[in-house]
Symmetry: C2
Subunit: 339 residues, 2 copies
Amino acid sequence: MARQGSRSRPPTMADVARLAQVSPQTVSRVLNDYAFIRPDTRDRVLQAIDVLDYRPNQAARTLATSRSRTIGVVATDYLSYGPAAALWGVERAAGEAGYGVSIVSLRESNHRAFTEAMQRLVGQSVEGIVMIAPQDQSTHEVFDAFDNVPVVTLSSFETGEHKPIMLDSAEGSRIATRHLVELGHTVIAHLSGPPRFTVSEERVRGWREVLAETGLAAPEPVVGDWTAESGYLVGRELAADRHVTAVYAANDRMAQGLLLALHEAGRRVPQDVSVVGFDDVPEAAYMIPPLTTVRQDFAALGRRCIEAVLALIGNEPRLEPDPLVPTLVVRESSGPAPR
Amino acid sequence: MARQGSRSRPPTMADVARLAQVSPQTVSRVLNDYAFIRPDTRDRVLQAIDVLDYRPNQAARTLATSRSRTIGVVATDYLSYGPAAALWGVERAAGEAGYGVSIVSLRESNHRAFTEAMQRLVGQSVEGIVMIAPQDQSTHEVFDAFDNVPVVTLSSFETGEHKPIMLDSAEGSRIATRHLVELGHTVIAHLSGPPRFTVSEERVRGWREVLAETGLAAPEPVVGDWTAESGYLVGRELAADRHVTAVYAANDRMAQGLLLALHEAGRRVPQDVSVVGFDDVPEAAYMIPPLTTVRQDFAALGRRCIEAVLALIGNEPRLEPDPLVPTLVVRESSGPAPR
DNA sequence: GCGCAGTTTGAGAGCGCTAACAATGGCCGC
DNA sequence: GCGGCCATTGTTAGCGCTCTCAAACTGCGC
């Protein structure tokens, strides 16, 4: 574990080989866990590696093997909890599998930006790409254009080969809505995410299904854009409608904005209005009142993404695990319907 | 912009050269903006590149030049807003400078984990490293062991060559505390971050300074761990103390927990107690009540980190810009002291 | 008409590693 | 005591790019 001189050329495999009195190839074999190496040779090599503080040059390795041991991630927004947590899970799972993670974020999510991001990653010869970004039809065309690198998407509709690894958003919605139904609510509004995004639509779908099953009327969802601000703004209208006694928000941040709007309108939660969110962000338990919400296991999601890309990289049959089912976390923002 | 056949070998520079009827070296020159190329030769090459959808192999480039055009980022936690925003800024600034970003996160922040993370990045031959992680003495020893790659840290104390790029936390504290002083508060508590972290200590320092200047007593800070939960737990004690009419929390999440604790204790904000946070997370404006807080420009911070590493990479003299001064955002959680 | 500076292109070597093949030596059975 | 097999190591040739050096060509002044 020697310290290197300041900015000196790092040692190469040849240096190690010389010191250990073997050929470079033998060093390479030791590094790659080749089976037939005499134990004492291996030891000599390992010791030389240690003495020189040698670390293999990834670029050379990549060039020689055309395997970069790197996964690319394209994200639109990891300032929000969901994407960030997914990124976290992906990065962690990748690390455990011996892969590094290279990340590119998009400012806008249009065709050109996607293409650019993908090109960038492909140029870094990533072995696979995980998309943590909302998608629509046009982005899928982009994936198709990059058909020599496996792409795994994280929530989107299914087209062609690109099946998404996703949480069962619709099921989460059903759970949330059912909870409100069971509490006796009959007018259950939905504060949805922006249309044309699969996650939004899935959540709308689940909510509609339960209302239909139960024979309740399904009003048009009120549309937000995932931000607390939008939750607050459309929440004010919701707050003004005295018929509404329960709102299921498509994520916790909008729910938070909604809580403020209800508070300002003098409507008590949960006595007058029940609120249920989605995500279980760390702050959910500390909102006023603590938010009932649907918890998603983002870490597991990330793990699955990595499993899926690695499978694709290894040309293994694509595994189709059951979607991850979210769970309901009941806190204080939901209660029996008033009468 | 031809589509490639499924999983075929991507085109190389030689392919482009052949098609354009020039030598590979000329293609390389076109790619690297070499000045003396006849315009029509350049056009032929560019066209060939376009036709083949050629993209240079980064690994080969890195190997030949030993420049990877990649910056490594070590982060402990980018699920919190601050680190995530900083990462965002770094990644964005890096992208603009033509650099990619490779990220490694740490589960624990001990010596070994740091070393491992650094090794990993060095192995990917990153040209520089940005640390988005709390540091203490031991981590600095790690940096010193990697003295052939420039490291920029983002908040930590200064030791040796490793001066941190940071926001002026102490000044932020002063601004927040002064605001409360000006509102007439005389008992101003501080809900601090965990000790031994520079950011925490800086913030404690700024708060102490203003109290000292003003001749107010400085109680011991109440210690949290940045989470809303800790804010809530220690907040309950704070709420029980009727003398306290103002609390300055070292971040917004703890402030959120505190707000809940105060609410549950029946203490009104801001009529009975004023609360000021730090960070201006996107949700701050939608807490109950909307939180007065200190805004940090994380994007600028990220930009500066990249500027700093790039300077170090280019062996330019280290620039020492003024620390970024945060600004106060007054909302509804702070008001005149009751009497 | 010749030399020279400057422009434009190409040839050869090498970055650090691994894949493929070849070579060595030891041990076995007969 | 010899062929054959296996364990163990070495040799050679790239991976795709850029560096350095050198060649060819242009136009200019004298």
